[in-house]
Amino acid sequence: MRKSRTLNLGTGSFVLLGFAALFFLTTQTTSRGLAIFGPAHYEVIAKFDNIGDLKVGARVSMSGVEVGRVAKIDYDLNDYKAVVILRLAEQYDKIPTDSDASIYTSGLLGGKFVGVTAGGADTYLKDKSEIQFTQSAFVLENLIGQMLATFTKSKADAMNPAADSKAEKAK
């Protein structure tokens, strides 16, 4: 009897320890503890021309404070735009309707997030309302393309006077 009691105690504490570890993994190493779920949220829609590599679960922040997360990303074949559904916490329910949403990059190589800047209207965003003013993600390739284009253009401009002066010197 005594032996079986210590044995059961050992098994019990092992199983407890194991479940404590599982609990730790699910709550402490993931963002579940910070996630906004249940009835205390509302969803607003924002349409972007280009969302870059924005992912479901990305942060939605106002002035750097997390107010929600990206709930769903879809493509609208009527306006040819990316539809991003933002799930905002119920406590932030006074966001003006003329606020604008932009996609930013956190850090140089970090992931994308949605930044919302408050507008000045007296009406507030409600569930399923749409943010009208949006700014697309900053795509590095496009920027490099533009930069190369201006660079080659200015270089071509710089080359021509040089060629002229050379020709003059040769004279």
Partner: protein, 253 residues
């Protein structure tokens, strides 16, 4: 020579069939055994609690190595803060389940196989059959279930200790900021990663325990046969673990 290869192949398929049939027998007998909590609890103790020390020590060192290596690598890109993410994802998804399962096969699998093999060699299993006690129900299924229950718990403990090991090296010794270590980890590790780890460790638990009890139960009843069963348990388990690892990873992509 071609004929020999063919024979080996046929034998391997036959073995696989025997193992699957054995698994079916174990599963069919499981509900009856679940009512006898004491038998299962004793085996959870044998496979789980007794493997705890080796699992915790290995987890600590694996985590510390991850911390050191990860720091060296991430420092080149100036992103030491991602150390927590790298260590946690590595441990929860891959290293935790796989290393735990390999250690489990070495520590608990061999114990199961040699115990059952010796029971077979000393005619204890035949004696049970003589007394109309079903050895599958009385001896094999509790050991199988004990392994299946213990393995995911051990893997979770391994991962947690490993994360603290990485934190110990990264934060305490190398000076990564503790706040960014944990917050970056929380931002990057999703619940799906944790589920993947649990699914893997469960699959490994079934595979390791099944291989161990099958090898032990059908061991050749000699000293040499028991030894061979023990060795084959470890070798087969290791290969099957790594194969299943690939399958589960692909399934979760």
């Amino acid at each position: 020579m071609f004929r020999e290869l063919w024979e080996t192949f046929i034998e391997a398929v036959e073995d696989l069939g025997a193992v699957v049939h054995f698994l079916y027998r174990l599963v069919v007998n499981t509900p009856a055994v679940l009512l006898r909590v004491n038998l299962v609890s004793q085996q959870v103790f044998n496979s789980g609690a007794l493997s705890l020390v080796i699992i915790m020590l290995s987890g600590l060192f694996v985590g510390m190595v991850l911390g050191l290596q990860g720091f060296q690598l991430l420092q080149r890109f100036g992103s030491e803060e991602s150390l927590g993410t790298a260590a946690a994802i590595g441990l929860v998804k891959e290293l935790g389940p796989v290393v735990t399962a390999l250690l489990f096969a070495g520590r608990a699998g061999t114990a199961l196989a040699s115990e059952l093999g010796l029971m077979r060699a000393t005619d204890q299993i035949s004696a049970m059959e003589m007394m109309a006690v079903d050895p599958i129900q009385r001896v094999v299924v509790p050991r199988f279930l004990g392994g299946v229950i213990a393995m995911p718990l051990l893997a979770a403990i391994f991962s947690v200790i490993g994360i603290y090991g990485a934190q110990l090296v990264g934060v305490q010794i190398m000076g990564v900021d503790a706040g960014s270590f944990w917050s970056q980890m929380r931002g990057a590790v999703s619940l799906k990663d944790v589920y993947e780890g649990i699914a893997k460790s469960f699959a490994f638990g079934v595979a390791c325990s099944l291989i161990a009890v099958h090898q032990g139960y059908y061991a050749v009843p000699t000293a040499e046969g028991v030894g061979r069963a023990t060795t084959r348990t470890v070798v087969t388990s290791a290969v099957v673990i790594l194969f299943l690892d690939y399958l589960v990873t692909a399934a979760f992509l």
